[in-house]
């Protein structure tokens, strides 16, 4: 069995990234290397991984075999081994497939988008490194190996967000992302360590953990579950750690498309699904997850309705969609969640790339109210965007509809009506703000200046088309039985399926209708307000929503500034004025004592004789006392 190929799925992008990095340094230091070389290596890597993954996929069809490959003993302390192991089961291989596929397309897109950037090679170095880490995250067979990938994607996203590092606020955005992720990682590590001590007795890979999970006391399980979920929150930008995601849009658009829409942010969802054996045992934690998801979804959707920066809108919508996914996984419908991850990857990547195309065409203009009328100027972009928007809004038969419908079905079916209501409201809002964007950008007519549009070359448009296909038909693999399809994704991920919910068919129909209705309502509101949208001046928003509920400011005021104050207090007050004072004060007191003593050295013979007399008398008195 050619299990070692699993390692190569990760290894190929890793090696190519290493090669790219060295070549980049070489090219900036010694002799320029033409971009085409970088392009070939960089773009081919994910597709190669995709091809290998496909072979495994094909082997898996029909049977529920799990491929394991232990490359080497990563860490062996005291007879306890942790292996650098790779595991391909249906979940991970499924993830790998669309990560490599969408990732490859985005590489392709980036090769066109970045072609005039002088850091071209560096960009692909980061991109491949990111793909490698993401694949490691997905394919890892133990939490700790997963954590390596987990952090790898984090640092890649840091470097890619602060890609244009000359501008300070980009780097700050990167820092923000990294720190927020780190807060999550803190939870992850704590969870991992706890798991190690309570369940790691006979092996730390998922299989053994799953086996020994039952023996863990329930409160510890809850603790682990919550801590893990903190990690997921950090990665997937849910309340309260979502603040980094909007700022992360500072990076180049392909980065936003790949990392902050399609792959990395969904790692949290994947992790919850991966640890389903844990979360199955603690449904109440699952419920918390679902509520957090629902709140985040609603919250982000509300904020998105007032944003003017096209990428920010998409960022918030990403967060909102992630909220949907967490609703699903929280309620045990892991397969549903993954399904939405899958579809979302397509249409969200597509949206970002379309937005990127528009931005490029308009010479890096990002405010939607400075755009308009793109429909005629870039029809292809328009149509692809339209498809994607329909998909995200949840209009059948586009991809988004099925997954979202299943999520809401899960919510309703497991009796969490509050969550369900929030989901529906979110759906309305989603449709509203997405079409608002679409109308303003493509139908609106306040892009007056007649500058020549920036041309879009093949490598940008082609991925658009492919992804458009994806977002049109990706949903079809999950058509519910109800509509005569048989839910392939559900069958494929049968182990991750929430078997415990049974909803009557007519209820299901009603729910579907509600969803479609919600979408239509949203679209019609958007149509009313923004179709044929024409205003001479860019609207200035104020208020809570426009200011994102002041969350950033609150964090800054109540956390960052406080810590800075403490830091200054410690390093400039405590250390200098207290601890060092003690040390130096001691030495100074010695000097002072010396100066005092030296008064006795007054060079007066009679005084010296007198001191002698005193000394003698003291000693003699002592002797007499002793001899008594």
């Amino acid at each position: 069995m050619s299990n070692f190929l699993l390692a190569w799925i990760v290894l190929i992008p890793l090696l190519s990234s290493a090669a790219l990095g060295l070549m980049y340094l070489f090219s900036i230091k010694i002799v320029k290397i033409p971009n085409i070389v970088f392009t070939l290596i960089g773009v081919s890597a994910p597709f190669a991984s995709f091809w290998i993954a496909t072979t495994f996929f094909l082997q898996m069809i029909g049977n529920s075999e799990i491929f394991l490959y232990k490359a080497y003993r990563w860490l062996g302390v005291d007879g306890y081994d942790i292996d650098m192991g790779f595991m391909a089961d249906k979940l991970s291989i499924f993830m790998v497939l669309f990560i490599t596929f969408v990732g490859g397309l985005i590489h392709l897109y980036a090769s066109g988008y970045m072609k005039n950037d002088d850091g071209y090679g560096k960009f692909f170095f980061y991109f491949n490194l990111f793909i490698a880490s993401m694949l490691l995250l997905v394919l890892a067979d133990s939490p700790i190996i997963m954590f390596i990938g987990w952090e790898g994607v984090g640092v890649c996203s840091y470097f890619l967000i602060s890609y244009y590092y000359e501008d300070e606020k980009n780097v700050q955005a990167g820092n923000k992302a990294f720190i927020a992720n780190r807060v999550g990682d803190l939870g992850f590590i704590i969870a991992m360590i706890t798991m190690f001590y309570y369940a790691g007795a006979n092996g730390f890979d998922y299989i053994n953990l799953e086996a020994s999970m039952a023996s863990v006391p329930p409160d510890v399980l809850t603790f682990i579950g919550l801590a893990l979920f903190v990690g997921a929150i950090g990665k997937s930008a849910q309340i309260p750690l979502f603040v980094w995601l909007p700022d992360a849009m500072a990076g180049p658009t392909p980065v936003s498309a790949l990392i902050h829409a399609a792959t990395m942010v969904t790692a949290g969802v994947y992790m919850v699904a991966r640890f389903h054996f844990l979360y199955d045992l603690i449904p109440d934690v699952g419920l918390i997850i679902a509520y957090v998801g629902a709140f985040s979804a609603l919250f982000a959707a509300v904020i998105a309705t007032k944003q003017t920066d096209i990428k920010k809108i998409l960022a918030y919508s990403t967060m909102s969609q992630l909220g949907y996914m967490f609703i699903a996984v929280g309620l045990g419908g892991y397969s549903v969640g993954i399904f939405h991850v899958f579809t979302h990857a397509f249409f969200k990547a597509l949206l970002f790339m379309g937005a990127g195309a528009v931005i490029v065409a308009l010479h890096h203009e990002q405010n939607i109210f400075k755009m308009g009328g793109m429909k005629n100027k870039t029809p292809l972009v328009y149509f692809t965007m339209l498809i994607a928007t329909l998909a995200i809004a949840g209009i059948p038969p586009f991809a988004g509809f099925f997954s979202k419908d299943e999520i809401l079905l899960t919510a309703f079916g497991s009796g969490e009506y509050l969550i369900w209501i929030m989901g529906v409201v979110t759906a309305v809002l989603t449709a509203y703000y997405m079409f608002r964007l679409l109308f303003v950008v493509f139908h609106g007519s306040n892009y007056k200046e007649e500058r020549k549009l920036h041309a879009l070359n093949k490598s940008i448009t082609m991925p658009l088309v492919i992804l458009a296909m994806g977002s049109m038909f990706a949903g079809l693999i999950g058509v519910p039985e109800l509509l005569g399809g048989h839910n392939l994704i559900g069958i494929w991920l049968s182990d991750w399926r929430n078997s415990s919910l049974h909803v009557a068919h007519d209820t299901e129909f009603i729910l579907m209708a509600v969803n479609i209705l919600a979408a239509i309502v949203g679209i019609s509101i958007a149509y009313k307000k923004f179709f044929k949208y024409d205003m001479k001046i860019v609207p200035q928003y104020e208020g809570m929503i426009w200011n994102k509920f002041y969350i950033d400011e609150i964090y800054d005021r109540f956390i960052v500034q406080k810590i800075k104050k403490i830091s200054i207090f410690i390093s400039y007050k405590v250390d200098v004025n207290i601890i060092d004072m003690v040390v130096m004060g001691l030495s100074r007191s010695f000097i002072r004592g010396g100066h005092f003593i030296s008064k006795l050295q007054n060079a007066n013979t009679r005084f010296y004789a007198f001191t002698m007399l005193i000394g003698i008398s003291v000693i003699s008195t002592y002797l007499i006392m002793v001899m008594r």
Binding site: S598, K599, Q601, N602, A603, N604, T605, R606, A609, F610, L613
Partner: protein, 114 residues
């Protein structure tokens, strides 16, 4: 016989008491008097007090040894006297004064000079 012993002991004690008084006077002189001549004389006084003790002891023990010691001490005192007097001369030449308190260039306040 016994009375003699006792008598001698008493007289010895009185001698020693006298010697100690002289000794203390000498010491006080060294401390109290400014004039270096008198300081010198006080020291001589102390030495002689000790001579007195030795001689009294010699009489008490009826041995010659203390007498010899006393002589030796006198000799040493003479040697010291030589040095002392010459120093007094030099000091007087320098400061035109016999007040011992004026010789204080070595005090800590303005140390660091040669």
């Amino acid at each position: 016989m016994q009375e003699k012993e006792a008598l001698m002991a008493d007289s010895l004690l009185s001698y020693i008491a006298l010697a100690m008084i002289l000794f203390s006077i000498g010491f006080l002189g060294v401390i109290a008097r400014k004039n270096i001549f008198i300081v010198y004389m006080s020291i001589e006084l102390m030495l002689n007090a000790i001579n007195l003790i030795f001689i009294a002891l010699g009489r008490y023990y009826e041995s010659m040894q203390p007498q010899v010691i006393a002589l030796i001490i006198i000799a040493i005192a003479a040697a010291e006297a030589a040095v002392f007097l010459s120093l007094i001369v030099v000091l007087y030449r320098k400061k035109k004064s016999l007040n011992s308190d004026v010789f204080n260039v070595l005090n800590q306040k303005d140390a660091a000079h040669e």
